[in-house]
Amino acid sequence: MISRRHFLSIAAPALALSGYPVHGFTKEPIEGRIIVIMLQGGMDGLLAIPPIGDDNLFKQRKALVASNPLKLNPLFGIHPNFRNFSKMLKSNEASIVHATSFPYTGRSHFEGQNVSQSGSKLPFSTNTGWLGRAMEFAKITGKALSLDAPLLIRGAPEFDNFYPANIEKTRSPQAALLDLIKETHDGDVMAAIDKLSRASMSGPSRLRARDPLSLATKAGESMRELNGPRVAVLTIPEFDDHSSIGSTTGHHPELFTLLDNVFYQLKIALKEQWDNTIVLTTTEFGRTVQENGSAGTDHGYGSVGLLAGGLINTSSVVANWPGLSTKDLYEKRDLFATIDYRSVCSACIEAAFGLDHDFIIDKVFEDKKITRIYEHIFG
């Protein structure tokens, strides 16, 4: 039996035996890339990565456990819809961090999303994102694949967004016109128009579709270019399933399939740059351990983070498992988060941008208490 509150880094035998080459991380500066997939609405971590070795899971949840999870190790399984991600686990290019969350327990989407993007402990306390600040210190560029520029990436010296338009009888604005419009603006607006002006000179984009898979392709393609962006942010919305979320099949499992395909698509599109990449998910909070009255789960606390990319050497499920009996839950209802997800973010920044852990927690997160778990994910 696995003892509670003992820091575990469990590599499943089935995974550890696979013979893929190990992509080494050296202390040489590498051109690492970070892709963040924001799972908006609060992913149910217990449905995605069920702790099948914890008997209390089945006591707490009657319906919302997939009938045929793939067993990763004695404690954890993975929802069968993560087909590609499971293969990545087998080939030592993916990892899972469980019972984790940003330091926010309020169960509000809007505060939670703000915290998960700003990296601050207090919601709405800063105008920049943790990724944007890391980019500022590492002096690198990035792109958001959305109509808006998300808070997560703000603060970076160079960032941009991409989301193809679909308005009949219009074409991309010309640089000369943009420069005149720019003259009437200041600050952030001026900067945005300036970027649009430069983008207009790089020719029209072939890709017009804007579903997450197409955007993942676009992200991967531009990031593998020589001077392409080194950061991308994608969003998959609609994880806020309060009712009929589905166990083996249903809405949450469909989103798992989509997320799984996004991971796969990124790998395909990045080609050889996959080796220098870390993809990580974020979500504002997990969901209640027990089902609510309508076969769904309400807003909770601890959830799971999925990571993939060539920067990982050995697949593992990193967790300090808090247990699922009612007395072990946060306020007797939610999975406890025993790992601050900012530790995961810090490790990814360290691996991809080569910044030092102490520097990251001091300058990016302004919280010197964040533990270094780099070795557990990238060691």
Binding site: Q40, K62, A63, G106, R107, S108, H109, F110, E111, N127, A144, S146, L147, D148, A149, R154, D160, N161, F162, Y163, A165, N166, I167, E168, K169, T170, R171, S172, P173, A176, L177, L178, L180, I181, E183, T184, H185, D186, D188, V189, A192, I193, K195, L196, A199, P237, E238, H242, S243, S244, E291, N292, G293, S294, A295, G296, D298, H299, E331
Partner: protein, 507 residues
């Protein structure tokens, strides 16, 4: 009528919007070439709050046709009709393509949200109740109901026009209760899926091995977003007990008709509730949680009357007054509205007990004297651009550049809805319950500017009667912007620069 000191005080301050065209943009959509410019702005302001206005017609000819004003009952009937046809088509032994084609036709024939969208555009571009239209957008956003499913697309327009618009001059107590019990809200925030743990309904389903019980989604947002906000520091138990008061309100309306007609268990449990009865009072006793509930220290009895008692308590809470005064100030005055400006609205809210006519009047008066500028929402900017430039909304021929068109059979086409989606500001879109952001930075990105410029070029093709230079003179644009406009290489470029300048985007 009660005269409030704080407002009288505000009027004596220096008027910031001496240009009437600019003032009409601060609180409305600006004056178009065909609008009558008021000689006395005070009279016009009073009218903006008190007068009853009629909506203008589809093609600007006559009034908005009554057959396109749908009651909630008509909306349910149309949805029912569509669903019935859908079932029939699905059973037919024809190919998928043929089925989809027939479903599309039926969906169009029974659609109501196209008309609702047209009404939104038309009222903003031509309506003479422009402050009310802006307030309508504000409150529609405050009480966000996201679309995406068929059912909600049918009822969002009812929430906008039959509930919010009709109560803009009423009390916040009434508005809050009516919105909370609206079928669109009950469905969007999952209350339809909620039932009391100890309700007959939940016990019945559990006996059959199905899950049933509370869902706290609406309860949480009712407190967090619609009323007191987290600043009130309520507990998780308060949320839970709010959910218990809410349990019983709403049935799973997405499949409303089928459930009533086909599923025996629903018939047994909810007895013979007719469509009409359900629409009027969507409370099902058998789904409600028995017993009293305590929320923020106050006790609420079992039964349907508890909800009104609860929404009244929340509406009257001091934190609600603070939260909403700030939101109104940010919307009309700007993100940087001062504490003093917010306080004028707040004091009015408190003195009038949330009388919205008074609160809105206070907001308008504070806006008159503010120096703070507001970065306009994309749709507000677009409607202002169309209106002020005198461009046309409805296309008159296939080749012209208007936006919408009315087909031969009288049905509107899809584009006005599609454009709202493109600019990221569609009240019928699937989105988060906190609604669209009021922060400038959330609307600043290269893609957002790409959309603005594209929309401006479309407005130019919709035959505006005012040029870029004329708009700049009319609205007292800065010299910097006038210079940029003069450098445009042709009338289209000059027009686009005027529309996409900071002078038009911010007011």
């Amino acid at each position: 009528m009660k005269i409030i000191n704080a407002i009288r005080g505000a009027i004596n301050l220096r008027e910031m919007y001496k240009n009437k065209n600019q003032w009409a943009r601060k609180i409305g959509f600006g004056f178009g070439p065909e609008d009558e410019i008021p000689t006395n702005i005070d009279v016009w302001n009073t009218k903006q709050i008190n007068d009853e206005f009629s909506l203008i017609g589809l093609n600007k000819i006559g009034l908005w046709p009554d057959e396109y004003n749908f009651s909630i009952k008509q909306r349910f009937e149309r949805l029912h009709k569509f669903k019935t046809i859908k079932e029939k088509v699905e059973e037919e032994s024809i190919g998928r393509q043929e089925k989809n084609a027939r479903l599309r036709i039926s969906k169009n024939e029974n659609a109501v949200h196209m008309y609702d969208t047209y009404k939104l555009w038309n009222s903003a571009i031509y309506g003479n109740d422009m402050f009310k239209q802006r307030l309508l957008h504000f409150w529609t956003n405050h009480f966000t109901v996201g679309g995406s499913n068929n059912f909600r697309n049918y009822v969002i327009g009812d929430l906008i026009y039959n509930v919010i618009y009709k109560n803009l001059n009423g009390s916040f107590d009434d508005l809050l209760y009516l919105v909370t019990t609206h079928p669109g809200m009950l469905d969007y925030l999952d209350n339809t899926h909620s039932s009391g743990e100890n309700s007959k309904f939940a016990k019945y389903l559990r006996k059959r091995g199905q899950t049933a019980g509370l869902n706290d989604n609406l309860a949480r947002e009712l407190l967090e977003l619609h009323t007191v906000s987290p600043a009130r520091k309520y507990s998780e138990t308060d949320i839970r007990n709010t959910a218990k008061v809410l349990a019983g309100w709403g049935l799973i309306v997405s499949d409303f008709v089928q459930e009533f007609n086909e599923k025996k268990e629903y018939r047994e449990i909810s007895r013979n509730i007719t469509l009409e009865k359900f629409v009027l009072a969507p409370y099902l006793k058998n789904k409600a949680e028995p017993g009293k509930k305590v929320i923020m220290g106050k006790s609420f009895p079992a039964g349907p009357k508890a909800l009104r008692k609860l929404t009244n308590m929340l509406a009257q809470d001091d934190f609600t007054a603070q939260h909403l005064s700030k939101k109104l100030a940010i919307h009309f005055i700007g993100e940087n509205a001062s504490k003093g400006e917010i306080k004028v609205i707040y004091d009015t809210w408190k003195e009038s007990n949330g009388d919205l006519a008074e609160v809105h009047r206070a907001t308008l008066n504070v806006a008159r004297t503010t120096k703070t500028r507001k970065f306009l929402w994309p749709s507000t900017w677009m409607f202002q651009s169309i209106r002020v430039s005198g461009a046309r909304f409805i296309k008159e021929s296939k080749s012209d550049g208007g936006f919408g068109s009315i087909k031969d059979d009288g049905r509107p086409d899809f584009e006005p809805l599609g454009i709202l989606q493109e600019i990221g500001h569609n009240f019928w879109a699937s989105r988060q319950p906190d609604g669209y952001s009021e922060k400038k930075l959330d609307w600043v990105s290269t893609e957002h500017f790409d959309r603005r410029i594209r929309i401006a070029s479309r407005i130019f093709r919709a035959e505006p009667s005012r040029s870029g230079e004329e708009i700049a003179d009319l609205l007292d644009f800065s010299d910097r912007t006038k210079l940029a406009i003069s450098k445009g290489r042709n009338s289209e470029e000059k027009f686009i620069i005027a529309l996409c300048s900071s002078d038009l985007m911010e007011i």
